[in-house]
Amino acid sequence: MVHKPILEINNLRVEFPTRHGTLVAIDDLSLHIDPGEVLGVVGESGAGKSITGAAIIGLLEPPGRVAAGEIIFDGRRIDTLADGEMRKIRGRHIGAIFQDPLTSLNPLHTVGRQITDTIVTHLALTKRQARARALELLAEVGIPAAAERIDHYPHQFSGGMRQRVVIALALCAEPKLIIADEPTTALDVSIQAQIIVLLKKLCSQHGSAIMLITHDMGVIAETADRVAVMYAGRIGEVGPVFDVIHHALLPYTIGLMGSIPSISEEVDQLTQIDGAMPRLNETPPGCSYHPRCPEAHERCAVERPELIPVDRSQVACWLYDTAAKDHDPPPPRKKVKAARRKRTGTTGASPRPLIEVRGLKQYFDVSPPLLTRLLQRTGRRVVRAVDGLDLTINRGETFGLVGESGCGKSTVARTIVGLHDATAGTISYDGISLSTRQERAKNQSYQYKMQMIFQDPQASLNPRWRVSDIVAESIPESRRTSSGGVAARVDELLRQVGLSPADGAKYPHEFSGGQRQRISIARALGGEPEFLVCDEPTSALDVSVQAQILNLMSDLQRRLGLTYLFISHDLAVVHHISTRVGVMYLGRVVEWAETAQLFNNPQHPYTRMLLDAVPDISKTGTHRTQVEGEVPSPIDPPSGCTFHPRCPYATERCRTETPASIRSENAAVACHAIEEARLPAWKAA
């Protein structure tokens, strides 16, 4: 390469001194970013991605410090600069975008003021000129009616719009490098797509390079030019995005790519990397991946590999060390997908409904107190979280429920298991109605047949209880014949989810996120349930751990004959695990069908929009169609078909009349356009 890189990091080492010894978060890391390039930095949580970003802009949380190595920005060493000097570079030459758009804006200042202040600080412009520039920027990042919105406060913007403002803020001084730390993680799929497209477009227009830090391979696949894969504080592999994703060299990358579910192929089991990333204080010697690596040999355990150039990539793995003669030549490049097995067909038995939900409504009263209502002359405010939902789940199947945040999918889960009392509608289990509190109290034995797995493995386990007590909780009183019987059952449950009975004596904080989710599953299995409601069970986990949990769930389903309601915002995960899928929008299921049918031939415009928006590793380097608009508030939903403000096919009828569900043999869809046969056929990707 002829041109000089904009950023060069050589042998960076970041340490956190603690009273238990020094933790090395980043160890001997070298990378470079060329002008105008998008470098994706991926890795699971704890790999040191964000710390690398913070080290570059000089914002390491104390007591963290750069212990060795150098960071050279635009030909100038910046890791040794004093605070005052660094402040001039930060914002002016290096911009930053953080994960949470809510906390990266000051809630007490208008967005216009925040942008103009930044411009005035860094560029020699007057207030008036700066404001004009701010207006221009806001229009550029796609904020409608920018002239009016410039004087609004951050809370008046939605999440996606706020992230646009943050991007404008990062771009305002035309920096040469932008550090984007998980810029789309807090956003919904459709919004995420908009932000990715915007970020990429603007940076190429302004000529800024981006260091895009994320755990989401789909985002990287579509955005980055080159990718660096981090593991335990080091770079394991770096190379062009297509090579890394489709022809990975490093065993870790191969495993990681295999563990990501994709919407474009069906597999029975995901590739699984056992174990989890080592904690900072227990990094193994040699290659830090060797305890989990299927290709590990003796040398890996003692000697640490450095980055070795292979083709257009660089990889830190002894497999590719051609200088060493004492072992076999490097294995041929593995096709990642070869490791996967095709999904086996579903059993042909005629479906028997287990759960039937009819006309379910769940309203929440969020009105201000009576006195305030009287003074402000406002009426009651009601959130229609679920508004007339029909659902049938057959015995032995996995019903996937997808939708963006706020569409009511978690409320459906909680209402079905009886955590909420439904406002209207019926829920029946195997023909027994469990719609009201009285009915549930009468049929207590059915309560144990329905259990739930929660999203946050941190909050779903009582931190003051031993694991054995947590798991024993759901064992019904009737089965607690003797204390020894309970203990034996707990051991059996722990073994079933892949933990050891000895783990029962520990407390939840001694486990990693994936192990905690296993405990949560063991607890749910305690009552020998037939039906498990899983509310985003893997969205708080890293991809390799997610694969472990998804595989465990399929495994348990086969062995115990379980039925799942699987709720997720992640289309790829739902595609992987479900036999049938329902798509929710503002409290209703707008379309449901068998998985293959829904993903190959989506009917409802909203389903099509979601499928278009989802970042997927199979779409590496492709362009996407951008989706407009955001999810409306369920307090004041649009009239008629609630999707009409975002729908390209909306007519007058859609604005006034709520569409009824049109049933076909194995699917249903609620859309006027389909009913009137004026929807174009789905172009297969």
């Binding site: 009273r19 056992d274 174990g275 305890p291 909680r414 298991v417 009886g418 955590l419 207590q444 309560q447 144990y448 329905m450 259990q451 739930m452 929660f454 999203q455 946050d456 909050a459 779903s460 386990l461 009582n462 931190p463 003051r464 209880w465 947590i470 909780e473 759901s474 019904p476 892949g498 933990l499 050891s500 000895a502 783990d503 004596a505 520990k506 192990q515 949560s520 607890r523 749910a524 305690g526 009552g527």
Partner: protein, 316 residues
Amino acid sequence: MSAAPIITRSESRRGMARRFWDSDLAYSFRRSKVAVAAGVITFVYLFAALFAPLIAPHDPYDMASIRILDAFLPPAWVEGGDSRFLLGTDNVGRGVLSTIIHGSRISLGVGLASVILAATLGVTLGLISGFVGGRVDAVIMRIAEVQLSFPDILIALLIDGIIRSILGPGAHGNIAFFVVIAAISLAYWVQFARTVRATTMVEKSKDYISAARVAGKSPSYIMFRHLLPNVMGPVLVIATISLALAIVTEATLSFLGVGVPPTQPSLGTLIRVGNDFLFSGEWWITIFPGIALAIMGLSVNLLGDWLRDALNPKLR
């Protein structure tokens, strides 16, 4: 899963002392000089209070050993002092040091008992208030707020007065202790209830509570088995700070003559008795119990402050 070392329960229990020494709390205690000093002094007081009859050079309750001839002796190092009575004697010839040691026992005992009672009451009401919500919550919290708008000492005096008038003038002796304890604990339960209510409302929205409800557990099971252990952190802090306040409140009540009976004097009673002689030159009768009370209150308070800071991640 990696092969986890097999830990039996007895092994993990043996490691508990070690684990505590290694814990962040013990570390922050070792690091803070103020906390160590306050901790040592509090421990000395507790020890002296527990073993008062063994430590005190004289028994102030033993009428036979008290001689009126020994009255008004100054401290040992002052001219006319007696080496038998290090801090001098009071108006009836009891050694001031011995009365302080026995008085500390009464002060600490009443203080601890009232805090335990206040904590039990406050935690229970706070849990119910936070968990049940709605009208129950509104009623409990309005009572708490009304009570908060009066000074604690006024509440204690009021409750003390009410109980005494109900029990009649014959209420002396041991009943007086319970009256004081009841009065102080009723004055201090509000802090506990409000904090526990707030913590409960945060904790009850977490999913382990949902999991317990899905498993069909009763509200009282959820409150006392699940929530209680998780709201106890702040309670410990408030209990320590309230202990200092309760000790001072008891001393104030006793000083005003409505506290513990004079036959078993607490530090407050000693100060009141000595107060009569302050201007006639026998300063030691009131000054030494005063200093003892101040140091006790201060060290317990400092210990509470440290505990609050150590358990509050925001202040770290």
